[in-house]
């Protein structure tokens, strides 16, 4: 066991994967000598050599394309994109090639690659360093979208993502990289993908979230408990394909649902969750579904960022509102 931060957990998972499987290769801008823009790959270059931890030019499209070629030759490339906002040039390769190789070849070729990128705001960065664009990727069949929310889940989910036979985009909540430490058993055990984690049980309302927003949701749940409201906090963790069973079971138990994400409202993944609940558990609802998320604007500069990001107080307010029903 080691008491580590989320970014240390990412590094430990990468090191374990490089150690256990010679087909794992890390590619990305500054991942080698410099150790990565957030130091996620620090020390790996020295330990595993420059062939396996490879600095690349600033060429996101070709990095992703080369990873597809490597994966088609049975390698397991793990690509780091410095910020999620820089991922757009790679989208063609991810959407049109990585996600479809299995289907086009009827399984003769697969694409076991991982694309890691830090996402999210709250770190006083400019707009394209603060994005939360997971919904774009969650719209792509054949792709897995995984977002950890703690050091332990970062370690276990990243290992499973690397071992997965299909392409995974792994979005790391950069605000949590160094925000907390927790005991993690660095034993190489993966956590299940496509599985939601219930972080706190509660009978009154289901608070559905993922990534960095789990913190605000847990904080809100704690505050609400003081008033006798028991909120269940569900961390989706994998958005594609997602664990509808856990989600629906929770809503069926509580009859109320608040969805929290830091991506803008329209087209955010919360819309999919709300639609699914409406389709399959409408009879269990005693209150309308509420979304707590930023409006449809571009992430602002730091001075206005606090107004943009959902807060525990806003989550509490949404919960109190749905509690007023039924």
């Amino acid at each position: 066991m080691a008491e580590i931060t989320l970014v240390e957990a990412v590094r430990a998972a990468l090191a374990h994967a490089l150690e256990e499987d010679p087909s794992v290769i890390i590619l990305g801008e500054d991942v080698g000598v410099d150790g990565g823009v957030f130091r996620a790959t620090e020390g790996l270059w020295q330990r595993f050599g420059r062939d396996r931890v490879r600095d690349t030019p600033l060429s996101e499209a070709a990095i992703a394309g080369m990873a597809v070629g490597l994966a088609a030759q049975r390698f397991r490339p793990v690509v780091e994109i410095q910020f999620q906002g820089f991922i757009h040039p790679a989208l063609d390769q991810v959407a049109n090639h990585a996600a479809r190789l299995r289907n086009r070849t009827r399984g003769r070729l697969t694409c076991p690659m991982v694309l890691r990128a830090p996402y999210g705001g709250g770190v006083h960065a400019p707009e394209h360093h603060s994005e939360s664009i997971e919904a774009i990727f969650a719209h792509i069949p054949g792709l897995r979208v995984v977002i950890p929310s703690s050091p332990g889940r970062a370690y276990g989910l990243l290992l499973s993502a690397i071992r997965d036979p299909d392409p995974v985009v792994f979005f790391e909540p950069k605000r949590l990289y160094r925000a907390q430490r927790e005991e993690v058993a660095l034993d190489g055990a993966g956590l299940p993908l496509d599985t939601a984690f219930t972080l706190r049980e509660g009978r009154d309302v289901s608070v559905i979230t993922w990534g960095a927003m789990t913190r605000e949701c847990l904080e809100a749940a704690e505050a609400l408990a003081g008033d006798g409201i028991e909120a269940e906090v569900v961390d989706m963790a994998t958005l594609k394909p997602y664990d509808a069973a856990t989600l629906l079971a929770s809503v069926r138990r509580t009859g109320r649902c608040v969805i929290v994400h830091e991506a803008p409202r329209t087209g955010g993944f919360g819309g999919e969750i709300a639609a699914r609940i409406a389709e399959e558990a409408l009879d269990a609802l005693v209150a309308p579904i509420r979304r707590v998320c930023p409006p449809d604007i571009i992430p602002p500069l730091p001075k206005l960022e606090a107004a943009y990001m959902p807060t525990a107080a806003e989550i509490c307010a949404a919960v109190r509102e749905v509690m007023a029903w039924g």
Partner: protein
Amino acid sequence: MATRKTSRKPNASAEELLGYYREMLLIRRFEEKAGQLYGMGLIGGFCHLYIGQEAVVVGLEAAADEGDKRITSYRDHGHMLACGMDPKGVMAELTGREGGYSKGKGGSMHMFSKEKHFYGGHGIVGAQVPIGAGLAFADKYLGNDRVTFTYFGDGAANQGQVYEAFNMAALWSLPVIFVIENNQYAMGTAMRRSTSTPDIHTRGEAFGIPGEEVDGMDVLAVKEAGQKAVAHCRAGKGPYILEVKTYRYRGHSMSDPAKYRTREEVQKVREERDAIEHVRELLLTGKHASEDDLKAIDKEIKAIVSDAADFAKDSPEPALEELYTDIYA
């Protein structure tokens, strides 16, 4: 457009020439048949024919060895036939049947063969170029001496990710031959209207990648250039660019009205530079084969293509459940 040096003596044996003739003719007759089946409504999706460009893949395949890899764009039927994939499986994929290389789920642009090291058929213009560089990266990493032929067109040569791949391939000395099949038209846009300089083979200079122009209507010239490029890559000297000047006789796809060029222009290339006619002439004037020998080959090829078409028509449609397979493991 380069004109053929007719005085040139063939540096190929009768056996080789007959082989090239046979392979190029197979591609042409196969594509003619595909065009017919498309016209009959038997082929869904799009269908991009390779007629006119046969000498490019046949010449380069003559320079390839077992284990070398190839990847190309959506105009891919010729590449598959030239690397030895089964015409039946290719044609049945065009008709979207179970017997096709992707069991009827890939179509004209998306077929693959691990056995023949054919990594697709890709529909997004230029996107196969970094993937090809990645295939070469894997071979370099594994320490073997395999080479990857990465084919793309003059149109794709204007895509940004091509140059990202050039830089990385040169930086890491990857064994990849960038084959630019310059058929003069990016869909309906003539090169002079789309491309700032006419010599695309010089586009690697900024990255230190050698490049040369090749007459793509002369299979022997293509083979020779291919051998040079392969030797360069196998010697560990990094990537190489071949700009192969060729010409597509048919439309960009089957739904192309071809308003961007005259019938006369097409007719002139067919009459004066046709790659198959060229080899036919070499065979006859060199007395390597008689008219009757060539007729016998024609007949044999027709039978292969006809069998492929029958197979493609008779093979069953994929079951409805197949919609949901091979999305995830």
